[in-house]
Every structure is written in C-alpha cells, then in structure tokens.
Symmetry: C2
Subunit: 272 residues, 2 copies
C-alpha cells in the first residue's frame, strides 16, 4: 500500500490540526500515512502554494491526500480545497451547535488558538518552567512554593514530566531524586516532611531502568541490574512506609503521568 | 452573564479534547466559561460519575453545560449525554468521511491518542529533552549533533522554546546565550562558526527584556534599561552581520516561535 499524504493545514502553528489529526489517524491502524504540517497559511498566496503542494503529493503518491484543516477564513479554505484533497475541517462541525447554544455568532480569529505571549497565563507557564528547571535536582532548601514534588530514583521520568506540567499547565513542579543515601536512610529527607501532601512517587520496572541507565553510563555500577533492582525496591518500600501515592511510569507517557498526578492532587489547570 | 461550564471528557488524558475545545472557544469572545477536564473516563461507573458532576454544574450555574467529548466508546458517551449537556463529539464528524476514503472501518482505541511510552518516537522525545537540558548554557564544546541552535541574549525565550521543540517534536535543540563578551567581540563564537546553517536568532523588545530581568534581579545592572538596550542592539547587529535569520519573540508564544523556526529550517517533524 502506498502511504497516503496527510496535510495539517493551519493559519497558525498547526498544533490543533495535528493534535486532532493524530488522534483520528490512530484509529485507522495499519494504513500507511506520510504527514506534513503547513503552518501560517494566512493569505491567498500561501493558500494557493499549499494547494499546489498538496495536489503534487497526490499526483506523486497516486492516492488522494487528506487535509486536516483549521484555517478559519472560508475563502482560503476554498483555495486549499482546489488541491482535490479530502478536506476535513476541524472547526466546522462545532460552530453551528455552539452558535445556537450560546446565542451568538463566532468571531473568526486567524491563528489565535495558540497565539499570544502577552497573557497572565503565558507568564505563569514561563515562570513555572523556570521553577521546574531550578528545582530539578533536590538541592533546594525548601519546596514550600511547589505545587507538586515528584519523587523517584534517577531516570524514573521525573524531569520531563515536571517540564511538561510547567510548560503546558503552568504548574510549579519540583522533583526530588532519591539518592542511595536517601534509600539507606529509609525515610523522607527532613526538608520534605512538611510537604508530604504534594509528593507523588514514580517507580519503574528495574529492567527498563537498567536499559535507560546503560544508555547513559554503560557498564557502570549506577546502571547495573543489581543496583537498579535495589534502588527500585527501596524506593517502593519508602513510598509505602511514608504513605506516598505511587505510579508505575514504565509504560506511561509523560502526558499520561502528568494528567494522572494532577487529577490525583486535585490540580485542575487549563492546558496550553 | 454566568460562566458556562465546559467539560473536556476523555477516556485518556483529555489533551485532544482540551486542545480543540480551547481553539473553538477562543472564537466566542466575551462569553465567560469555566472549564474542567475529566480524564480517564474509561468505564461505565466513571461515565455515570462524570454525568452527575456535569449535571450538577449545570444546576448550580443555571446554564447548560457543554461537553467536548473524545470518549470513543459509544455506550459511555451515551451515559455522559444523560447529564443533559450539549454534547460535541470530537471524532464523530471525521470518522465517516475517512472510513469511506480509506475504504475500511476504524478500530476504536480507548485513550490511545497520547498513550504509550514504548515507541521509538517517545524515546526520541525523551532523548531530545535530555539533550536540550544539557545544551542549555552554551558551555558545550561543540554543537555538531544539534538540529537547531537558538541564539539570543539572556531571557529572550531560548530555553522554553528549546524544551518545547524537544518534548513535542523530538528535535535536538541547543541554545547559545549571547553574553556581553560575545557582543563585544561582535562575531560568532569560534565553536559555532561551522554550525551557522542551524542557528536561529531570537530578539526581543528591550523594554520587555528589562521587565523580565527586573523580575529576576531587581535593580541589577543586568536588568537595567541601558544594559538591555545595549545587548539587544549588539545582538541584532551581530545577527545581521553574520547573516543569521532572526525572530522577534516579544509577542510570540513558544509554540509560535518553535513552529516558525522549524518551518524555516525545514524540520518537518510529527507533533506529540
């Protein structure tokens, strides 16, 4: 089967088009796709150029391209449709029922879904990202201004999950790596005892941990199966003894971990 | 006007529901909303609980709630619809035309759009995130394995943009902060000369830079209007002299900057 060309076409970044397109395409397993994002298509000339590229991809592959479209200007969408592709308009199905329910017409806004760096929310996200970067190694004196403290052994997924929560939800997420000395002590480090309600534990399959650490420091004691198994066992024991909720990160993406941790701690933040 | 309750309901993280919901709602300016995400609604009991919460929000606010729904199981969606909310199903409009075009029925997959940490793409994202974290201050000896090098004065938006590109597109994004000594030298640092094709410059309104730096080190020379103005002027002069493409980050979000930089450098990566 020849791969079918999929185009995410947007007058902005194309993030909305690609997010929904990706979700829909995962429901057609086994169909080969090649995807391409055409962002910032916000005038007639760019729309005509986009249509040419889409038509060309269809001619080359011999299968009709599919366009996942979030361009809000109807005229530009028509120009893109002249490519001959199957046009799937992301917004069209939602607008009429919402207009009716809300009793007002929409105001089409070009490229604004992810736009703008001039809002309080955006500043909160940037501040949270700085917070996550500066509270990433457990050396901070206190965690009183953290909203979440992820805890786990080295390479259990804490850092990228914290960055994700900060960048997208503006959550001040700190992390605390459980070092061998913490595991030997077998109790929460003193500076974290008062923060217990915000702590969430991450654990991981020791074999997966071993693989990940081998990529970083092959052949080291740090990466050895024995060390990984000991650390994970002790960390899980600590979480249990201290009554800290735990999640197994082995087969979960950072998006899933973040979503579950925030739900569990009652952090209902808007996604950006 | 009473704020209208909006629920993002999903059998997974709710990211797709919230992304499209946010895009659609920005087109109804001036309507007050309160949004809430109900994630991992993947069995009948959770669907009934969700419906109760939605109905309750409608009763309390006196306005009918709106549900942006990505639950793929039709039976669960029906249970949620019993809340009386306006149901907007994200996938429904796209499935029939795609089934027809592709000549096959979809395979509904619960919560899988953002799932899974077991793919090569996921590993690439995590590796890229580590790369961005370890190539964040310009001290590295070389940038030969970088795909992008963002360059700009301190606090011009380099770090969060690099993290975003790494986390979501798996792009190995490094950044190089232009320090006063680089600006005085007035030319590209030696170790970056061979990497010119990957370098993208960020610049920023000096007044905005002054505000941002004041938040970090109030009253410092670093944050002073005079210093900010000098650094930005010299950085822009350097970019021009060295023929480096430049973007003004002042009013742009990291999503917009990332999207434009990747488009400009021809990096067509899938979004996760």
């Amino acid at each position: 089967m020849r791969p079918r060309p999929i185009f995410y076409v947007s007058d902005g970044t194309g993030i909305t088009a690609e997010t929904i397109g990706h979700s829909v395409l995962t429901q057609f397993d086994g169909v080969p796709f090649v995807t391409r994002r055409l962002a910032f298509v916000d005038n007639a000339q760019k729309a005509v150029t986009a249509a040419e590229e889409i038509r060309h991809a269809g001619d080359e592959s011999g299968v009709r391209p599919v366009v996942i479209n979030t361009v809000v200007d109807g005229h530009l969408s028509q120009l893109i449709a002249e490519s001959g592709a199957l046009m799937l308009d992301v917004f069209a199905p939602f607008i009429p029922p919402l207009e009716q329910e809300l009793g007002m017409p929409r105001t089409p806004k070009v490229g604004k879904a992810h736009g703008g760096a001039d809002t309080a929310e955006y500043e909160a996200r940037m501040n949270a990202t700085n917070y996550a970067l500066t509270h990433d190694d457990g050396v901070q004196a206190n965690f009183s201004d953290a909203e979440v403290v992820l805890m786990g052994v080295s390479r259990s997924g804490k850092t990228p999950t914290c960055l994700y929560m900060a960048l997208h939800y503006g959550v001040r997420a700190a992390n605390y790596p459980l070092l061998p000395e913490d595991l030997e002590a077998g109790e929460l480090p003193a500076k974290l005892r008062s923060q217990r309600a915000k702590i969430y534990g991450l654990t991981i399959d020791p074999r997966r941990l071993h693989q990940i650490r081998e990529q970083r420091r092959a052949g080291s004691r740090y990466a050895s199966m024995e060390q990984c198994r000991w650390e994970v066992e002790e960390a899980e024991r600590l979480f249990k003894r201290e009554n800290i909720p735990v999640m197994h990160s082995t087969h979960m993406s950072i998006e899933e971990i973040a979503s579950k941790v925030m739900q569990s701690l009652g952090l209902n933040r808007q996604l950006y």
